[in-house]
Amino acid sequence: MSILSAGTTAPEFSLHSTPDQSVALKEFRGRNVILAFYPADWSPVCSDQLSLYNELLEEFARCNAQLLAISVDGVWSHAALARERKYHFPLLSDFEPKGQVARAYGVYDEAAGVAQRALFVIDGDGVIQWSYLSPMGVNPGAGGIVKALEALPSNNIQKALPADAVQENP
């Protein structure tokens, strides 16, 4: 199965973000969601894709978007990584059944047993508006995400409003 493309309804999921908390996609209806699938916790810092996204949370919020990162790592690994790297967004654990959500989005690497490095921008109606599968070992950066978010009709409307109107109607 190949990566789900724009126009597809995003498969629903509910995954653990911590040992006692879960995050479901449907909680974000009405907001945009950035799903970042990645192979594994603990890749080197300077070239770390998630550290870059961590710097862009304000920019994502400006586009009414929430970042959710997903790998097959367990919740304790996620918790330690988030603490060490000071991540301010949820790391979801696609752990049991392993890789089920990555499979549903068409981005599971069967041979390696990990999620591929893939990005999705999902709109407030739960429809995929942009997706991108990064080649193995290549950090895709955030240029594509920023462009996809800005191209969403909801964000175009927001930009056309005067600054004070945007603040009144976030």
Binding site: K86, G144, V146
Partner: protein, 183 residues
């Protein structure tokens, strides 16, 4: 490799940039860097070597890409370099920050004060300059321009507008090939 669309420098080099070398050089090398990033610190002597090797054929541009959450003093160091730039001291500060990275990072903001003293900058004037919102605007503009250009970590290098992915030997040879084609 990345898709072509994402890997191209979206903000052209302009007079607003910090640049070193021949303005009409055949090759423009742009670095998106973070002063606290160890990989950038390791890249620093390699960039100097490239500048010496290609001399008049190379123009070097530095843009800020501080990963503030990973490197808590990176942003402050970038602001300091911008404040030094107002006094015409951007490159001396850039060089000092990388040459003394291990030392100043170990003592954080106090470590940065050593740079101010080393360059003989007026501390009061510098403090006033640091309050200027233009400094924040410049760093933010560099950062977002980098994001849009596909910067995926630090350091990221662009050779004549194209993101370079590879090691330093490949970068040196890549630049050499561009120069040879133009000769």
């Amino acid at each position: 490799m990345m898709s072509g669309e994402d890997a191209i420098l979206t903000v052209p080099v302009s007079a607003r940039d910090h640049m070193e070398g021949n303005a009409h050089a055949v090759v423009t090398l742009v670095e998106y860097g973070d002063f606290q990033c160890p990989a950038c610190g390791m890249a620093y002597p390699a960039v100097k070597q490239i500048q010496r090797r290609y001399a008049g054929n190379l123009r070097f541009v530095f843009r800020h890409f501080p990963l503030s959450q990973a490197h808590p003093y990176a942003r402050m160091a970038a602001e300091l370099a911008e404040a030094a730039a107002v006094e015409g001291q951007f490159w001396p500060m850039h060089d000092w920050l990388y040459e003394n990275q291990d030392d100043w990072v170990a003592s954080g903001s106090a470590g940065l004060e050593a740079g101010v003293r080393a360059l003989g900058l007026d501390e009061e004037a510098l403090a006033a300059t640091l309050r200027n919102p233009d400094i924040d605007t410049h760093i933010r503009r560099d950062f977002m321009g980098g994001v849009r250009s596909g910067v995926n970590g630090t350091p990221s290098f662009y050779v004549n507008g194209y993101l370079f992915q590879g090691d330093f030997d490949a970068l040196v040879h890549g630049i050499g090939r561009v120069i040879a084609r133009q000769a």
